[in-house]
Amino acid sequence: MLVLECPCCGITAEETEFHAGGEAHLKRFGPESSNEDFENYMFMRQNPKGVHLERWRHNNGCGKWFHAARCTMTLEVFGTYSAQTYEPPKEICDIISAKRPGWLRGAFS
């Protein structure tokens, strides 16, 4: 059972306090988008062995959504950050790069 820190309220808590919400930083494709774009947005998800950027909600706490950068292999948590962003912040990327040199976002290892 993971331990995560909610970046909104600052609480460090057990996984049971949170709810996982899948891959982070999806770009929404609505009406007028091509079938391929919509399919990718709606259904296609990364399943990396290694670094993953995920959405979580502190649903049994402050109720806020946030993002977590996590290793799916070792379960190491590199950091959590605001959900109100299109890209992982530089400091999170730096932490990941320091621990997983050569890491590229979205690349499958």
């Binding site: 331990v3 009406p31 109720g63 959504w65 190491e76 948590v77």
Partner: protein
């Protein structure tokens, strides 16, 4: 025979005799006994029958690794099968029965399987029960089910009479194992100031050292344990729990502790088991090692036991496992058993040592000095005896088993070396390394389980880490304890390791088969996994048949798949597999141990969450009134809603019919408080709701209501309800009862993660209001009698809402209808709910008022063809399927689900669409029935062309009415289609409009 010795028994209180029963016979034991030691003390060596061949079996071990000694205990609500005799502490009145035999333990018909064992090798069931396919369900399955399972299941009508609880604990260092390694590690960690918890699965601290002896810091091992225990108990930062097993290690330092509080004393008050949910910064597993059996023919005959177990029974419980014990070994440790037995005055005819002759170690010299005959380079060819050992045939270990000599004996003490208990290390990903010198896997300190910062959070101390001598164990534990405290952030004092007297030991010799060249006959009687009846020959057959992966071989032979998870058999089985594959053991690898370490009770997993506290129940403010007035409750999410109000002398169905007629003819009251009420507020509220609902909400005028549909981004209908515009920036969205929390979450998700720059707030106000639907021709009259606001048709139109007072209550009234009747839904503050309900009942008395429940609500809406989320929808239905195109905006460029609904298979004409269904003979269609068309599909099944989504008997129309989704349904009005029922009958129904009652909508329009 096995019997109680005059001396020994360090754990016994001989002044307290306990009586217990085994298979109905009353026996005596002492306080401090385990069930195993007490049975042995009564010469009850035969304790059970094996799983597959029903071989007679006795106890092999003395601890939690025991595979054979499984019994069923207790009766009624205390009945439990598969309890290990070795971990069951004796108590007064204990009742145990052996398992897996018929008619009795002594004479078991199933033992015929043993005679046929040659024809029942590995994979027997797969090979035997594959053809013909038609036999699978009615011939093979009953046979296999009859043979399956060890103990009996509790009776379905019995409820667990005990209680259980969860306990949350946090510490810096958790030490699992209360042997000398665990105690020393705890002391080292605690010296720094760290908060330490020590968990020991048995009732006693000290582990093996107190049985094996040795001198530590000039004291006996026993005195050392007493002293260090006292020291730890005196420290405020140390908690020691005995009878608590470290059951499993999980992500980020989460550990489950399984504490057995009253198993040893059922008369004690309080919960039986306590599940500790521990978060530890660092966990030290000081879980010791488990002795391995040797694989020789007849190694499962009752009386053949692990050498350490025989020693434990003699020293801890003063029990002799036999008068004459032959020791067979490949290492020094078993000599301790020979020496202990000799000291207890018992006969040890010989020590059969598979190692070649060479220099004597201290222990070997001691045994020799006691006059014990030692046969180096020898092994056991075969054990004589059926239900009890009566002798062993001796052979050269190097040969094929030619018998050199037969030695009479009634017990055999075997030792194949020791395997560190690596289970907890492995649970969360710790990797293992092969230790050539001990022929065992031990934890690889470079590859520990990793925590949230990527740090190792488990370390291993003592014998669990592969250490074998007292000095090395204590030193390792001390280093481990110091390091764990430091890693957990404590930089205080560093403890020093105690020093034990050194003794010389001769290296062990890996022996995987005895004798080395044993032929098939011997190999097919050499057991690896006692509980699942897997023999050396089975693993060899698996390898021969191509099951070369350890994971495949395990599943094919069932090696290590019994309730003991292969604690005794794992390494022996791997070694045989590796040998068959001609590859070293590390190359074969090992299967991974999974939690829990030994089975834990289902009750402890549930904890307090059972019965009334299994989950919270949500009650409306009028709950007690409903209860007092005959409510037949229906769970709706966590809410309880009245299904109907049953009056005396009527059935539930009759009550529903009465309520449904009365609401159409007079006046009905529905407690609608559970409907979701979500407030959406802010300058961008209209824009936000335009995205959430399929229709336009931003154009709704203040004071008006509008019915809306919500879809997921994937296009499917997820909720519906009436939206009221409260003011320019405020909307109140009604949701379904079950959907309130989900829809609130859905709104939050889109607001926080997609449109976070929109200025909108949402709040779930469901429980702030009690809401009553006042429904029926007399609805307006009732409100007029209450008095206050003007509810006339002119002043208060359909799909409008108003704030005001009624009968002195502050209300918000909505003129909306889910029944097709004149109807007002009136919200009052939750605290006023009951009083308002009472007032309505009072004024309604002359107007034919009756409360109605959810089933009546369903019939009323079905008569009108109104859809219900969860009936007409199931997560695959789009609004267009339900003919709700009128509620989908064509003006909006975007809303959730719009793009998805444009997909090809959403717009084609092959989707099933909503229609009304009317049985030809007026009966009621079975709910959920499927309609069949012409022909069959690729699987030979009849083609389906539709299904029933709602079906009721309508008392107002005096016939069955239904709605369903049917292929090309709206284009087939008047056609009759067939629904085969599960009762074998065909139901014929005509496709009609879904609006059965008042199709012109005149009734509410007054």
């Amino acid at each position: 025979m096995s019997t109680r010795l005059a001396t020994g028994g360090r754990l016994l209180n001989k002044s307290r005799v306990l009586s217990f029963s085994f298979n109905g016979t009353t026996l005596k034991g002492f306080e401090g006994d385990t069930l195993a030691s007490a049975l042995l003390a009564n010469d009850q060596v035969l304790m059970g029958r094996s799983f597959k061949y029903h071989r007679p079996r006795g106890v092999v071990a003395s601890g939690s690794e025991e595979p054979n000694g499984l019994v069923q205990m207790g009766e009624g609500g205390k009945f439990e099968p598969n309890q290990r005799v070795t971990t069951t502490e004796l108590f007064e009145g204990l009742k145990a029965k052996s398992q897996n035999h018929w008619p009795s333990l002594e004479y078991d018909v199933g033992a015929l399987n043993a005679k046929l064992s040659r024809f029942m090798p590995a994979g027997f069931y797969y090979k035997m029960f594959i053809h013909p396919r038609s036999f699978w369900k009615h011939v093979y399955e009953p046979i296999i089910r009859h043979a399956a399972g060890l103990g009996a299941a509790p009776k379905a009508t019995d409820r667990d009479a005990d209680t259980y609880e969860h306990f949350y604990a946090f510490c810096d260092v958790l030490v699992v194992g209360g042997g000398i390694a665990g105690l020393q590690a705890a002391k080292a960690a605690a010296a720094s100031g760290a908060k330490v918890i020590v968990a020991e699965q048995t009732a006693h601290l000290g582990g093996r050292a107190v049985v094996d002896g040795g001198v530590i810091d000039g004291q006996s091992a026993e005195d050392f344990v007493t002293a260090i225990t006292a020291e730890l108990e005196a420290m405020d930062n140390v908690t020691i729990r005995t009878r608590m097993m470290g059951a499993g290690v999980y992500d980020h330092g989460y550990v489950l502790g399984y504490e057995r509080l009253t198993d040893h004393a059922p008369e004690m008050a309080g919960p039986r088991h306590r599940l500790w949910r521990i978060r530890a910064a660092q966990t030290i597993t000081a879980t010791g090692a488990i002795e391995r059996p040797l694989s020789f023919a007849g190694n499962d005959v009752p009386g053949v036991m692990l050498a350490s177990a025989i020693r434990d029974y003699a020293v801890n419980y003063g029990v002799s496992s036999g008068d004459r014990t032959v020791v067979v070994t490949n290492n020094d440790d078993a000599y301790r058993t020979a020496i202990a037995l000799k000291h207890a005055g018992l006969d040890v005819p010989a020590i059969i040592d598979a190692r070649p002759a060479g220099d004597d170690s201290d222990l070997m010299a001691q045994a020799k000095a006691l006059g014990i005959r030692i046969m180096m380079g020898h092994g056991i060819s075969s054990v004589k005896g059926g239900k009890r050992v009566n002798g062993v045939e001796i052979c050269a270990q190097a040969g094929e088993g030619a018998v050199l000599e037969e030695i009479a004996c009634d017990a055999v003490a075997m030792s194949g070396g020791w395997s560190p208990v690596v289970h907890l290390w492995s649970h969360c990903g710790g990797k293992l390394t092969w230790d050539e010198s001990q022929a065992s896997f031990r934890p690889d300190p470079n590859r520990p389980p990793l925590g949230d910062k990527g740090q190792g959070f488990v370390s291993v101390a003592g014998a669990a880490n592969g250490e074998t001598t007292l000095n090395a164990i204590l030193n390792d534990a001390n280093v481990c304890g110091n390091a764990a405290a430091k890693t957990a952030g404590f930089k205080g004092k560093v403890a020093k390791a105690p020093i034990a007297q050194k003794t010389t030991e001769r290296a062990m010799l890996p022996v995987w088969l005895m004798p080395q060249g044993a032929g098939y006959k011997l190999r097919s009687k050499a057991w690896l996994d006692y509980q699942n009846d897997v023999k050396v020959s089975d693993v060899q057959l698996a390898a021969q048949e191509g099951f070369t992966s350890v994971e495949h071989a395990k599943r094919y032979t069932t090696l290590g798949m019994a309730t003991d998870q292969g604690k005794l058999s794992n390494i022996n089985g791997l070694a045989i597999l590796s040998d068959s594959l001609n590859q070293p053991i590390p190359q074969t690898g090992t299967t991974t141990f999974r939690p829990p370490y030994t089975p834990i009770s289902m009750g402890s997993i549930g904890g307090e969450a059972r019965g009334d506290v299994f989950q919270p129940i949500r009650r409306t403010p009028m709950y007690d009134w409903h209860e007092a007035n005959g409510a037949d409750w229906e769970p709706v999410g966590q809410w309880r809603r009245p299904y109907a109000y049953v009056q005396s002398g009527e059935t539930v169905h009759e009550a529903v019919m009465r309520e449904t007629k009365n609401t159409r003819e007079n006046l009905g009251l529905l407690d609608a408080s559970t409907l979701g009420k979500i407030i959406v507020k802010g300058p961008d509220a209209g824009k936000f709701l335009d995205m959430l609902y399929t229709n336009m909400m931003s154009s709704l005028k203040v004071g008006k209501c509008r019915y809306g549909l919500m879809c997921s981004e994937n296009g499917f209908l997820i909720d519906d309800g009436v939206v009221a515009r409260i003011d320019d920036e405020t909307f109140l969205c009604h949701t379904t009862t079950g959907g309130a929390e989900t829809i609130h979450g859905h709104m939050e998700e889109w607001l926080q993660t997609e449109w976070w720059d929109w200025n909108v707030y949402v709040a779930n106000a469901t429980e702030q209001y009690a809401q009553v639907a006042v429904v029926g021709p007399n609805a307006r009259k009732a409100l007029e009698v209450l008095g206050g606001m003007d509810v006339s048709a002119d002043a208060f139109g359909f799909m409008e809402w108003q704030d005001g007072t009624l009968g002195g209550f502050d209300v918000r009234a909505y003129r909306i209808s889910f029944s097709g009747e004149l109807s007002y839904e009136i919200a009052v503050p939750a605290s006023q709910g009951q009083a308002f309900w009472d007032a309505l009942m009072a004024v309604g008395a002359d107007l034919g008022v009756m409360p109605y429940g959810t089933e009546c609500l369903h019939i009323l809406r079905a008569e009108k063809g109104f859809i219900m989320i969860g009936d007409e929808t199931d997560g695959t239905v789009i609004p267009q399927d339900l003919g709700l195109n009128w509620a989908i905006s064509k003006k909006k460029t975007d809303f959730l689900g719009k793009r998805a609904q444009e997909r090809e298979h959403m717009v084609n004409n092959e989707r099933w669409k909503l229609v009304g269904l009317e049985t030809v003979d007026g009966t009621t269609l079975p709910g959920g029935a499927y309609a069949v068309g012409e022909g069959t599909n690729a699987n030979g099944q009849r083609v389906m062309i539709g299904r029933v989504t709602s079906s009721y008997h309508s008392p107002n129309l005096a016939r069955g009415i239904a709605m369903g989704l049917v292929l090309h349904g709206p284009d087939r009005m008047g056609e009759i289609i067939t629904f085969p029922g599960t009762d074998g009958k065909d139901y014929e129904a005509r496709i009609v409009s879904a609006v059965f009652y008042d199709p012109e909508g005149e009734k509410p329009n007054v």
